[in-house]
């Protein structure tokens, strides 16, 4: 963007130094995420660039930490693929188990949060909804209450009803944490929603279910999915609830990372971190596509 010619030298200087400052802040935001990737290929067990790495010597780099992700916990990592290596990896490797757990818990809690949250958002967006502000405030409160307080309370309560340290307990807890995101995003998509569209559908003879399915659903779907994604990420990200309510059996990726960092900060953690950064790039892409689609659809609906 070129500056208009009438700006003074001082304004020009400010303009460029402002951009320089912003550039530095962007570096601050993104550099930590990028730095983990090269470090995870370090052949040495350190968190620092070795002289060899800086000179781009191939032997200073290695994929051993990535192999370590797969090998850790396996009964016989040296077995050939034909001798049941795959089965061993799938069943015993600690990180693989953590990944399975993360997806299992994340998907189930996101589904619960999305189903209940969408239904509630439909109710909240009706003009007749009583006590809307208070109820919205209540439903969103799990997001506001510090996670440590939530986890503490849940731990005491879930232990008394016998679901602490179980999959059910963890999934219920994560669904609760994901609910606010679904309520917020779906309510936001519904705020641009023209209720005349439903009325039109109904007056043209559609059954209520058809009206929901064919008219409302396509319009709020992006909101539902992005709310669900938020809920999934909330679950996928969580360590604190897992620390209190989870057990070895339910151990997720972040929980496994937490142990890893506290036990021994080897570059294996960095390798896992690199994979997770790639994963979040994928999530971000999906979320961005959804946002665009939602914008387009809202344009049509209005």
């Amino acid at each position: 963007m070129a500056l208009p010619p009438y700006k003074t030298a001082l304004q020009r200087a400010w303009h460029y130094s402002f951009r320089g400052i912003c550039g530095l802040i962007f570096v601050f935001l993104i550099a930590p995420l990028l730095i983990v990737a090269p470090l995870s290929f370090n052949v040495e067990p350190y968190f620092s660039f070795t002289p060899g790495m800086l000179a781009f010597e191939p032997e200073a780099y290695s994929t051993r930490w990535y192999e370590n992700i797969v090998n850790l916990g396996m009964v016989n990592p040296d077995a050939s693929y034909a001798e049941g290596w795959w089965k061993d990896m799938w069943e015993n490797a600690q990180w693989i188990r953590a990944i399975k757990n993360s997806f299992f818990i994340g998907i189930f809690s996101a589904l619960i949060a999305t189903a209940l949250g969408t239904l509630a958002a439909l109710g909240l967006s009706k003009p007749e909804m009583p006590f809307r502000a208070a109820i919205t405030g209540f439903l969103i409160s799990p997001m506001i209450v510090p996670i440590i307080v939530t986890a503490t309370g849940m731990y005491f309560f879930y232990a008394t009803i016998g679901i602490a340290k179980t999959y059910v307990g963890v999934i219920v807890a994560h669904a609760t944490l994901g609910v606010p995101f679904v309520v917020i995003t779906v309510t936001a998509t519904l705020s641009g929603f023209d209720h005349n569209l439903t009325r039109a559908a109904l007056s043209l003879g559609a059954t209520p279910w058809t009206a929901f399915h064919k008219v409302i659903m396509p319009l709020i779907l992006p909101g539902m999915i992005s709310g669900g994604l938020f809920a999934f990420v909330t679950s996928f990200d969580d360590v604190v609830v897992m620390l209190f309510l989870g057990d070895l059996e339910q151990r997720t990726v972040p929980r496994q990372m937490w142990s890893g960092i506290r036990e021994q900060i080897s570059p294996t953690i960095l390798a896992v971190a690199t994979i997770l950064v790639l994963f979040s790039i994928a999530l971000l892409t999906v979320a961005e596509l959804l946002r665009r689609r939602s914008e387009r659809l809202q344009g049509i609906a209005k």
């Binding site: 067990p45 350190y46 968190f47 069943e91 188990r97 399975k100 757990n101 299992f104 731990y155 232990a159 009803i161 016998g162 679901i163 602490a164 340290k165 179980t166 999959y167 059910v168 057990d247 070895l248 059996e249 142990s259 506290r262 036990e263 021994q264 900060i265």
Partner: protein, 363 residues
């Protein structure tokens, strides 16, 4: 009741679905301290026990936090079968009824027929706990960081002028306060008398104050060798077996200072209501037999709790060096040492931990 039933049914269904579900028969969850120590147990006990009995042993690491056991027992969902603890913690757990009572008569006798109750060293058998090894809180340094003068005494650990640089210390009150007092000139056999008084406690914290700004705190046993190797600290307290492992397996230039150290026990306990209690007891009996303790001493430099194991100690399994002089029980390593006073700690752990945490958090 009904909802709990349904909850557990659902949990079982989900567990089966994931195939990581409830522990099948013949599985045992053994919890220990991770790193080189767990490795010594896996190599010496787990593998051979599994091979003989067909039991799958699941090994989990923890950092000595017995709160987990209490919350498991109190919530009625115990998943740990056998836990390796330090002495004071083992006594606390037993006091609170959180661990199973172990019948000493069931423990295997020594090869010459001496009953276990006489074969175990004094103070290593307890109502709910059976000791396996003796280990020591030593401190170690990186000799490349001190090419000229090298630290040799507990006092040197606190001497920032002679030996500048960061120190690693374990983030608990136990053994840290005793070490500070010994470095401040208290005789090892007086240490608990002094620490029982308010003045003595003040003195220990005052000593720690002198290096407070230069301390990096560690919480798990694998951290001190790591901190030394990364150059984050120039010297650190540590468990002697971990430093031994770094010295002989990883060839690190570390030196152990055998002075003013507090030695302790590692004991097996079975949490009350452990899912595989009988199997856990079988494993415990196996892992504390004369031969097995001697075998473990080939993997880490911790002294066996049985007298009959000592003559059987040979060489290190990986490097082939003689183990005897690296043991915390070797006479030359015991010139100024003291055993931890478990009764003292069972009584004072709450108040001293509280004060320690307060001291830590204060600026």
């Amino acid at each position: 009741m009904k909802s709990r039933l349904r909850g557990s049914l659902l949990a079982t269904a989900i567990g089966t679905l994931l195939s990581t579900g409830a522990l099948a028969e013949g599985e045992l969850t053994v919890v220990s301290w991770g790193g080189a120590y767990t490795k010594s147990q896996v190599e010496a006990h787990h593998k051979s026990f599994s091979a003989e009995t067909g039991v799958t042993i699941r090994s989990e690491d923890y950092d000595g936090n017995i709160g987990v056991i209490r919350s498991q027992v109190e919530s009625g969902k115990v998943t740990w079968d056998l836990v390796d603890t330090e002495l004071a913690e083992a006594l606390l757990l037993c006091d609170e009824g959180l661990t199973e009572v172990i019948d000493h008569a069931q423990l295997p006798a020594a090869p010459d027929g001496t009953p276990a109750t006489e074969d175990f060293l004094p103070g290593t058998l307890h109502e709910c706990a059976v000791a396996s090894v003796i280990w020591t809180n030593i401190y170690a340094y990186d000799r490349t960081r001190f090419p000229n003068d090298q630290p040799t005494t507990a006092e040197d650990f606190f001497d920032l002028e002679k030996f500048p640089g960061k120190r690693g210390l374990r983030k608990i009150a136990k053994a840290t306060l005793e070490f500070a007092l010994i470095a401040d000139g208290v005789e090892p056999d007086q240490v608990y008398e002094v620490l029982a008084t308010k003045d003595g406690q003040d003195r220990a914290f005052a000593k720690l104050d002198t290096i407070k700004d230069d301390i990096i705190w560690w919480e798990t046993g694998a951290q001190p060798p790591q901190l030394l190797a990364d150059g984050e600290v120039v010297m650190s307290t540590a468990w002697n077996g971990r430093i031994f492992n770094a010295q002989v397996v990883e060839n690190k230039p570390f030196e152990i200072v055998w002075d003013g150290q507090i030695w302790d026990l590692d004991l097996w306990v079975i949490p009350k209501g452990a899912p595989n209690k009988d199997l856990a007891l079988e494993f415990l009996k196996y892992a504390t037999s004369t031969e097995q303790l001697a075998e473990q001493a080939r993997w880490i430099s911790y002294g066996p709790a049985r007298k009959s194991s000592n003559p059987l100690i040979t060489t290190h399994a990986e490097s082939g060096i003689q183990m005897a002089s690296h043991m915390p029980t070797a006479p030359e390593n015991l010139t100024r040492a003291r055993q931890t006073d478990a009764a003292f700690w069972a009584d004072h752990v709450v108040e001293l931990t509280e004060r320690f945490n307060t001291w830590l958090a204060a600026q």
